[in-house]
Each structure stands twice: as structure tokens, then as C-alpha cells.
Amino acid sequence: MNRLLTTAAAFACLAGAAHAEGSLSVYHWFEYIPQELVDKFTAETGIAVTIDTYDSNEAMLASLKAGKLGQYDVAVPADFMVSIMAADGMLDTFTPEEMPNLGNIEQQWLDVYFDPGRKSSIPYQWGSTSYAVNRDVYTGPIDSLGVIFTPPPELAGKINSLDSQNEVLILGSLFLGIPQCTTDREQLKALNDMLLAAKEGWASFGSDTAKDVLVSGDAAAGMIYNGFSAKARAEGANVEYAYPKEGHVLWMDNVVLLKDAPNRENALKFMNFLLVPENAAAVTNYAAYTAGVKDVAPFLDEAIKTSPENNPPADATPGVFAQACDQETQQFYDAIWTNLKK
């Protein structure tokens, strides 16, 4: 055992030494950054980048809390998760001098509720969550969330729901016109009952698979992120992304500087690099969402620039961000979700 620990310590030293030599450790969503862009960063700076991936905001939080904080330099949490991590003291801050490209951030994304004035985070990509239908199956109107929650006969039993509590419950609340984080019993009961009834018309739950089920035809409609919908269309599925009159969900993923980052300097370089319009555009071209960075337009692929998924009609109801409910209220929503999937 002693020998084992010594070996482990030796390993630890080796790892520590590696960190000092111009490396960068990124904790990122899977399939969210083009390898070419990472290679470009390495070519420009000589910094070797290692990327670890996660599949949900909460999985990232769990593994950081369980002991990986201090191993990574940057992570890419969504808006609400940035505030959670900040409240937990998991984020480091930077000064505007350390982030020369801060001025490249679009005005509307500078003073965001989860990081006022952008002291720990920069925008990565932002997008929306709504639903898409396969136009070969259903040709009716898609102006309402009712298509998903009270599906027309053509779509009944052919709908994929996201397997993500937050997004499903917010879309449900929008449909019923009730506020997020409500504590009103009647409203919560109504949400609970509506979802239980809606589930009758759903074929499956899946977030990562949301695009795949539309492309393969396993589902004819489904809640989906706008970028996924665009990719589904690009892969040949005849899908249309909806901007329902009740509204849709907006979100923004952000690159955050983690506390105890082993390579803080390199992390800042990386964040600056991502704020260069050409580089932000490269991510957008890959992920099909929208960069929160100015002057990316010249670098965007034509298909992305003009895609209906990234350009809501002028008269569309604006989207809303998820609110982080307090603990007391959140437990009602947890109960509704468990009830839905029990």
C-alpha cells in the first residue's frame, strides 16, 4: 500500500510538472468544439490543450465538487449554472486588462444576470430551446407549444421530449402561461396534470438523442435545441423549428475561469482566443448556435448565417431564460418531474 501511495505521489509530481509547461486543461461539453480550432490555438500559442467532456451541467458540477476542482482551467456551464458555481465559490475572476478582447462581446451579453459585468465568464454560444416537427408527417400550424403538449392526431405517440427537467418544465409553464418558480398550488397542480396528460402522446425522452430521433424517423416531432434542429435539417430530415406564440427558452453557455486553475495564464489566453470573431464563428459553424461576439458575420457559413433556426421571425414571441428557483420552490418542480417519470 505504501509503495502504491509513493507511486501515486510520483505520478502526481509528474502531472504537476506537465502543467507548468504551457498546457491547458479544458472541461467541456462533448461535441461542442471543433478539433481544428483547438489545434489552431495550440499552433498560435504553443500551449498543449487537453479536453475532458461531460454530458450535463450537473455532471460537470458533481465531478468538480467531488474533487476535480483544481484540475481544470476552464469549463463551459450554462447561464444558471454560472450563478450556482459562482455562489459556491468555484469561479475565479479576471480584470478587464487580463481580457483584452472583452470589448468584442456583444453589448446585450455583457451585463448578464449570472455574471454582471463579465468578471468570471465570457460568452461561448447561445441558443434557444423549442420544438421541431417533421414536415413529411405533419403539415399543420406550429405556432403553439400545444403541438407538443396536446399533440394533433398525426403526431400523437411520435413525440420526443427532452430528458431534462428544467427545460421541459419551463416549456410546460410557458404553455400554461404560468410564471417560472411559482409557488401557487393551483398552477403547480395544473402543470403536473398537463404534463402527465401530455406524456401519453410522447414516445420517448432524450436530450442527447433529440436530433437523432428526428433524423432517423423514430420521432416525428420533438423538443429540441435550435442548433440540433439545424443539424437535423442538414442531415436530410424535413424538419421545421417552431417559434411558438407562448414563447421559448433561451440559454447561453459560457466559458468560465475556474478557481484554482493550474494554468490561469493560459486559461485567459484561451478565453481571449475564443473572443476573436473568427474563432467564435468557427464554433458557431460547428455547433450551429449563435456566438455572443461582435463582427462574426463575415466568417460564418452562409447556411448558418441565414438558417431559420438562428434567425427567428421578427414577430416571434421573445424567449425567456431559465430562472434559478430557490430551494423551497425547486422541490415542487423536482416532485413534478419525478411524478412524470415514475
Binding site: 505520478f11 502526481a12 462533448f30 461535441e31 478539433q35 474533487g67 476535480k68 437523432d212 432517423s216 442531415e235
Partner: protein
């Protein structure tokens, strides 16, 4: 009548193989698909194999495949050794205090859901100050491979009468000789079964590995997980096909080595 043959058993085996191999045929065929989408056939092409070796992610895949194979090899070997010793003690050790507790202990890795092992182990490693990396993956893999190796070995051992060894010992064989010359050859099918199970379990693990691996350390499952979940990509199918090819190659090799060995002995 041949008491070894039961009607339908051969058919059942063939059915098994059909079910096991049909999805693999799909993977192999579509790894040669020129199109990016699994839904359309774009003609025969080697492009995804080229992509695996020369594409932007090639170094990552290479490192991941190397890590996966070496970890599986070391973990399965170690777990099999540990499990073999444990099986001998449990089956040949008579009654001793804590026997059923030990039995439960051996099977504990099966009982705890993977995500719980993953989070708990990571917390534990960071508590004792063990930096996550190759070593932590290896430790975790050896631990959860033990029951998979143990159960077939113990099952085999339970069917071997002690009389052979007793006879050998009566003829002044040492315990080590009796083990090496009598017991080990008799229990070999169990050891091989256990080893194979441990190997494929280690090769396959995603959840635990993903938590206990260090930054930048990838195994094949962690390297490909994302691109499979969002809809399997052709380069992943190419990698899988190559893994199959490697395994077939190894099996064929070991078959001929075995046969040659048997011939020289005969």
C-alpha cells in the same frame, strides 16, 4: 443415444450468435459508407479509416485505444489473479469466520450502482490525495473486475473434487506442486472465462472511468461517448470495426499457437 446432445441446443447457440453479430455487421458495413449519415448509403469508401488515422482527432483516438487496451489487459490480469486466490480460499479453505461477509465483499462491486461508485471513488481519491490519472483508472477497474473474474472461477472450482489434490498431497507433492500440476489445469476453463469477462467489462466501462480519469486521459469509451450519443458517426464505426479486427486477429493467433503447442506436446 448421445447424452451430450440435446435437441435445440445447437439452434439456440446459432440464434445467440446471430443476435450478437447482426448489429456488428451493421457497424462494419456502415464504416465503409461514404456518406456521413447512417440513414443513407453513399457508396463504398475508405475515408473514415483514413480519418481515424490522419484526421484531426487521430492522436486522441490512438492514445485512447492504447490506454483502453493496456488498462483492460492489466486490470483483467490482476483481477483474475486476485480472484483466483480468493476462489481457492473460499472453496478449498473450509469454514472460517467471516466467510459469508467475504462473499458479500467480493460481490460488492456488482451491487453498488456505477454512478455511486464513480462519485464515491472520486471523492475518496481526492480525500487521500491521489491525483486522478492512469493509475486511478487502473485501481478502479481492478476493483470492479474482481467479481466478474471470481464468479466463473469459483463456480468451476466447486465442481472439482478435492480427491485429486488429496491424492497428490498423499504422494508428497507440495501444496504449490499440487496447485500448479493438478488444480490449476483443472480450473483453467473457469480462469479463462473469468479473465474474458473481466477484460470486456474493463474495456467497456464509461461511467466510473469518466469520473476517476485525470484531465486529458482518455479511454476509448470516454473518447467516443459524445459522438455516439448524438448519433453514431462513421469514424466511430471504423474504430469499432478495427477493434473487432484486432480481437479476431488475437483469437486466431492464440488458436494457432495453442494448436501448435498441442502438436509438439503430442
Amino acid at each position: 443415444m448421445d447424452l451430450r446432445r440435446y435437441p435445440g441446443f445447437r439452434a439456440m447457440t446459432l440464434l445467440c450468435l446471430v443476435i450478437l453479430y447482426t448489429p456488428l455487421i451493421v457497424i462494419t458495413v456502415y464504416s465503409f459508407n461514404a456518406s456521413t449519415s447512417i440513414t443513407t448509403w453513399g457508396g463504398f469508401s475508405w475515408r473514415w479509416y483514413a480519418d481515424v488515422f490522419t484526421g484531426p482527432e487521430a492522436p486522441r483516438f490512438r492514445a485512447a485505444a492504447w490506454n483502453s487496451l493496456t488498462i483492460a489487459l492489466i486490470a483483467a490480469t490482476t483481477a483474475t489473479l486476485i480472484a483466483t486466490a480468493a476462489a481457492v480460499a473460499m472453496v478449498r479453505g473450509g469454514r472460517f469466520r467471516g466467510k459469508s461477509a467475504t462473499f458479500t465483499l467480493i460481490n460488492l462491486p456488482l451491487m453498488v450502482p456505477e454512478i455511486v461508485i464513480a462519485v464515491a471513488t472520486l471523492i475518496f481519491f481526492s480525500m487521500i490525495g491521489l491525483t486522478t490519472g492512469y493509475l486511478t483508472i487502473l485501481i478502479a477497474h481492478i476493483t470492479f473486475c474482481i467479481p466478474f473474474a471470481y464468479l466463473p472461477i469459483a463456480a468451476r472450482l466447486q465442481g472439482i473434487e478435492a480427491t485429486y489434490e488429496q491424492a497428490a498431497r498423499d504422494l508428497y507433492a507440495t501444496r504449490a506442486q499440487a496447485f500448479r500440476l493438478i488444480l490449476l489445469p483443472l480450473m483453467m476453463p473457469g480462469v479463462i472465462s473469468g479473465y474474458l469477462l473481466a477484460f470486456i467489462i474493463s474495456l467497456d466501462d464509461f461511467i466510473i472511468t469518466n469520473f476517476v480519469k485525470g484531465a486529458g486521459m482518455e479511454t476509448l469509451p470516454t473518447a467516443i461517448f459524445g459522438s455516439v450519443k448524438q448519433g453514431i458517426k462513421p469514424n466511430i464505426m471504423a474504430i469499432s470495426t478495427m477493434m473487432l479486427a484486432v480481437s479476431v486477429l488475437l483469437v486466431t493467433l492464440s488458436y494457432f499457437v495453442n494448436r501448435a503447442g498441442q502438436k509438439t506436446r503430442a
